[in-house]
C-alpha cells in the first residue's frame, strides 16, 4: 500500500476514527458508530448550539451545514462526518457570516425561548446563500423553514427577520 494512499477506514467496527473540518478547523477523534452527529458535536466538541429536540428528524433544532448544505445532525452518524466540512451555528456566528441575520432576529424579536433559534439560523443561512441576492417570497421563506419547529413565536417574526435580511443583502449587492 503506497504511503500516500488516503487513510480510508473500510473496516467493520463499533468505533471509528474520523477527521473532518469543523467550523474551519481540522479535527480528529474516535466516535462510536451509534453516536449521531449531534451528540458528537455537543459531547466531544462542546458545540452545544446544536440543539437536540426530537432526535428523529422532525423539529430541525439540530440543523448544521454539511459541505454547505443544511442537514439534520440527528439523522447523520458522527462517523459519517469523515472528510466533510461541517459548520454549526457557532461557526456561522463567530465568522460574522450571519451577523446581519442575527441582528434581524434580535431587532424583530424573532425568538422567545431560543431553543429553535440555532436551527432556524442555519436553515435561513442556507436559504439566503442560495438566493444570492434575489429576494425570496414570504411563501418561499415559509417553505424553507417548514422543517424547523418554533413553539413560541408563531413564525411571523422569524419570516420577517429572514425577509428583512434578504432585502438588505439584495440592496447591498445592488449598491456595490
Amino acid at each position: 500500500m503506497p504511503s500516500d494512499a488516503p487513510d480510508r477506514d473500510t473496516a467493520v467496527a463499533r468505533e471509528h476514527a474520523v477527521s473532518f473540518t469543523l467550523n474551519g478547523e481540522r479535527v480528529r477523534c474516535q466516535v462510536p458508530a451509534r453516536t449521531h452527529l449531534g451528540d458528537l458535536l455537543r459531547g466531544t466538541f462542546g458545540l452545544t448550539g446544536v440543539h437536540l429536540g426530537c432526535e428523529h428528524g422532525v423539529c430541525g433544532a439540530c440543523t448544521v451545514l454539511v459541505d454547505g448544505r443544511a442537514v439534520r445532525a440527528c439523522l447523520m452518524l458522527g462517523v459519517q462526518a469523515e472528510g466533510a466540512t461541517i459548520e454549526t451555528v457557532e461557526g456561522l456566528s463567530e465568522s460574522g457570516r450571519i451577523r446581519d441575520l442575527q441582528d434581524a432576529f434580535h431587532a424583530r424579536n424573532a425568538l422567545q425561548c431560543g431553543y429553535c433559534t440555532p436551527g432556524m439560523l442555519v436553515t435561513a443561512a442556507e436559504l439566503l446563500a442560495e438566493c444570492a441576492g434575489e429576494i425570496p417570497s414570504r411563501e418561499a421563506i415559509r417553505a424553507a423553514i417548514s422543517g424547523n419547529y418554533c413553539r413560541c413565536t408563531g413564525y411571523h417574526a422569524i419570516v420577517d427577520a429572514i425577509a428583512t435580511t434578504a432585502e438588505a443583502r439584495a440592496a447591498r449587492e445592488t449598491a456595490e
Binding site: 473500510t10 467493520v12 463499533r14 449521531h36 451528540d39 440543523t63 448544505r69 443544511a70 439534520r72 442556507e126
Partner: protein, 290 residues
Amino acid sequence: MKAPDFAYARPASLDEALALLAAHGGDAVPLAGGQSLITTLNMRLAAPALLVDLNAIPGLAGISEADGVVRIGAMTRHRDVGTDPLVRERLPLLAAALPHIAHPAIRNRGTIGGSVALADPATEWPACCLAGEATIVVRGPQAERRIAAENFFLGLYTTALEPGEIVTAVEFPVPGPDAVWGFEELSRRHGDYALAGLAATARRGAGGLTGVRLAFFGLADRPVLARAAAAAIEAGDVKGAQGALSGELDPPEDPALRPATRLHLARVILGRVAGRMLDKPAQDGVPHAV
C-alpha cells in the same frame, strides 16, 4: 432517544458492500441517506448488527441520459434529482414532486434509491416511478436485475428486493414531445406525509389523452396505478374517473382520517390533475356523496 449499539462499515466499492451484506445476512442493512433508517434506529424500532454505508461508493450518484433513458443513480440526493437541469427538462414530473418531499434539510441528505428501497406508501418517488414507467436497477451478489416499477412495490415497506440486493439506479424513459404530466399532493402541513397524492403522465393529441397513468400514493399500502380511472380519463370522462376510484383504492383505517375522506381527497386531486392534463378547468367537485 439514542440508537442501539451497532457496527458500521463504509465500503469503497459496490462489490465490497454486497460482500458485506452477503456475509452478515439479515443482520446487516444498507445505509443510504439515512433520513428514515436513522430515525428508526433513534426510536429503537430497528436493531441491525451492522450498517453498510453506501455514501462512499463512487458512481452510485449522478444523472445521465443515453438512448432515450434518463438514469438516476440510487445515491442521488432528493434535492439533486429535482433541481438537475436534465431532470427539469426531460422529467418535469420529478421536479414538480421535489418540493413535496419533507423539508430542505431532509431533501439535502435523503436519496432516491433509499426512498424507492424503503417503499413508504405515502412518499413521492415510488409513485413517480409508477407514473413514469421507471425501471428499478438492483445489484445482488450474483447479478444485476432490472425490475419494472409496477412489479417492484409489493406492499407496506415491501419491495421485490431480495435479501442482499441494493438498488443502484432508477431509469426513466424520456417522455415524447406530446407528453403531459400532473402532480398533486395534499398534506396537513408543508412537507408532512401525504394524505392523498397523485403522480400522472399521459400523451395529449387532437383526440384527447392516451396512455394515461395515474399513480396514487398515501391511499393504500403501496402506490397504486388506477387503471379504470385512467381509461375513463382517456374517454374524456373525468367524473367517471373520479367515480371509478372507489373500486381501485382502498384507503387504510387511520384514526386521523376516515377512509372515505381520504378517497374524497383522491377524487379532488384527480379532478385537478385531469383538468391540467386536458388543459381544461379543474373538476374538483366529486360525483358521489362520500
